[in-house]
Point group: C2
Chain length 400, copies 2
Amino acid sequence: MERSILKFGGTSVSSLGKIKEIANYLKKRVEQGEQLVVVVSAMGKTTDQLLQQVSSITSTPNEQDLAVLLTTGEQQTISYLSIVLNDMAVKSKPLTGYQAGIETVGHHLKSKISRINNTLFEQLFETYNVLIVAGFQGFNTNNEITTLGRGGSDTTAIALAAAHECPCEIYTDVAGVYSTDPRIYPQAKRLDSVSYEEMMEMSALGAGVLVTRSVEIAKNYNIPIYLGKTLSDAKGTWIMSQTEMLEKKAVTGVALDKDMIHVTLNYPHYDTSLMDAAFINLEQEEINVDMISQIVNNEGLQLSFTMKDTEERQLHTIFFRLKQDYPSLYYKIENHFVKVSVIGSGMRDMTGVASKVFRTLIEADIPFYQVTTSEISISYVVDARNSEKAAHLLCERFEL
Amino acid sequence: MERSILKFGGTSVSSLGKIKEIANYLKKRVEQGEQLVVVVSAMGKTTDQLLQQVSSITSTPNEQDLAVLLTTGEQQTISYLSIVLNDMAVKSKPLTGYQAGIETVGHHLKSKISRINNTLFEQLFETYNVLIVAGFQGFNTNNEITTLGRGGSDTTAIALAAAHECPCEIYTDVAGVYSTDPRIYPQAKRLDSVSYEEMMEMSALGAGVLVTRSVEIAKNYNIPIYLGKTLSDAKGTWIMSQTEMLEKKAVTGVALDKDMIHVTLNYPHYDTSLMDAAFINLEQEEINVDMISQIVNNEGLQLSFTMKDTEERQLHTIFFRLKQDYPSLYYKIENHFVKVSVIGSGMRDMTGVASKVFRTLIEADIPFYQVTTSEISISYVVDARNSEKAAHLLCERFEL
């Protein structure tokens, strides 16, 4: 009997009405002879509402306690969906992370799946046609409830697909992966397929469809993922091994990572102890520095880096401290930058992509501040006001 | 180290503000050197709200699914209380029914506790000072989530007290047990102590403080229960073995069971097949008949019984069916009756209670329709309009 894993995100299950529509769809697939594992998120804004309640108690809730609280959101969704399905005479069973045998390791709120008991489902499918699993949650060796962190429900679905060696369909309110964000470039094309590597770069570079970690699991177990729009006939995107993809293009997408800040340090002479002190401080404050460049010349040292603007507050504290030890340190924090990335696994084999991007930006008079390249991507930091223009031009240039 | 089990009901934890007040109180007791197990219900009207959502889907939800849903209510309370306690530096851990090792048997929504793993808490108390257990829930041998039915959180607390051989304090918005409902007889006295037997009669006869089953567990394991008012200095009531009670009174309380109906069947001659058919039908419809009396004389058979009015609809169906086989059957269903019960374990040893009750009602011109007696109670069915008057007179007569 054919088995599939389907995942529906929070906006797809934001009301009982939507849950009923999904149940109708699942019923049709069961009637076509499928066995289904359905992973669901918490309904709509439930998780945010729970977090808001907690924030009225404390800004530093105990992580174990918070995991117990947050997992009630998904537990409610699995119950409602199962009530609807059983009421339609579709044999269905709701399973919490613990009941689904999802073992995890690590911090309570950022756990990683370590093992999945896959014999359990074989037994349950003797009685039930649909197993509904609460996404985002698991349990650890101390029998404590854990959550998987951001994008956790996708991870649940893909890990279950890996354990059961079947494809994974992930449904959201967007139909698949686009060459770039359609809100920025309306002519953006939906991609029929992307490779795991391309998808990972896109996720890491801010495309935000799937978290990198989820794609990594799919890649390791060679599980095809279908990204589609919930209850829509619109075609989605398959994420799969590159070798199985028919057509290879040099560039498949352009991703924008917004709200970057650009930091510049100047110091009259080259001093490694300053560099050390700066990076130790950044690490202690858990600030992720993205792109770094360093220039040493007659005028001294110039160090630049980019980072997300969410940690800007800590940055001021760090530099205030550094200035006490290095009074002649000069620093500048500039806001409103965007990282524009061009991604494509074909880049490996085709030359000239970097120079094409470079020329596109130069011709359009768009200055850029940092450049980094990986095997399948090139990223430029540009002023926010130029970012959409850059994305447009790059999409046109690479016919996306 | 002294260990206590405390239970707080839904109205006691209906807001984060109230949860904080309870946390302050628990903190004081921990500072006095106690180890605490705290059982909590769902916050305020949470369970009702979940049931309302379900009723918009179906009137016959799958019981397994519904248990998974309803248990999220208590799971949220344990999380919030633990977040508050840990934030106050009181080492606390939330436990769902499964995590607390509460094994159950029976229907998903009316399960009974079959076993409690009591070594678990010994290990946890090495690290934590407060263990917070979700009331009303457990799990069965199929690893399915179950609930314990009405009054389930009290049962959780008392069963945990039995397993750990320590006293159980149950806090609600009423201070202890009264000789009768203070809303009916404002001079009603709070009882310092009642025996398990008296409490069971009171529960069964509608006093509604604790369900009979909970008291039964306490009696079997000889666990003293303290019923008190949440966060109040007001004295409560101890429920304990009768042998440990200092003072014995013939009568300790008057209970009223409202919304009874009185059913009378008349048939021109004595026919056991009719009786059989009537009781088989009542059993099939799961109608609990309370008090039964039968008169056979020259005019034929007269059978009367009382029952709760919640099942009146089924009653009409039954009699409609019976009339087809027994056309000369005559039946009458009368509403608005109340069962007034006088309870006291001292009745066993003291005579004259029944005749005192009898005379009280006669003197006040209050007619009664059925009378039953047990070893420690006497119950009379009276018209609803006379019930409060009867309760008043009986409380005065027995100095309650």
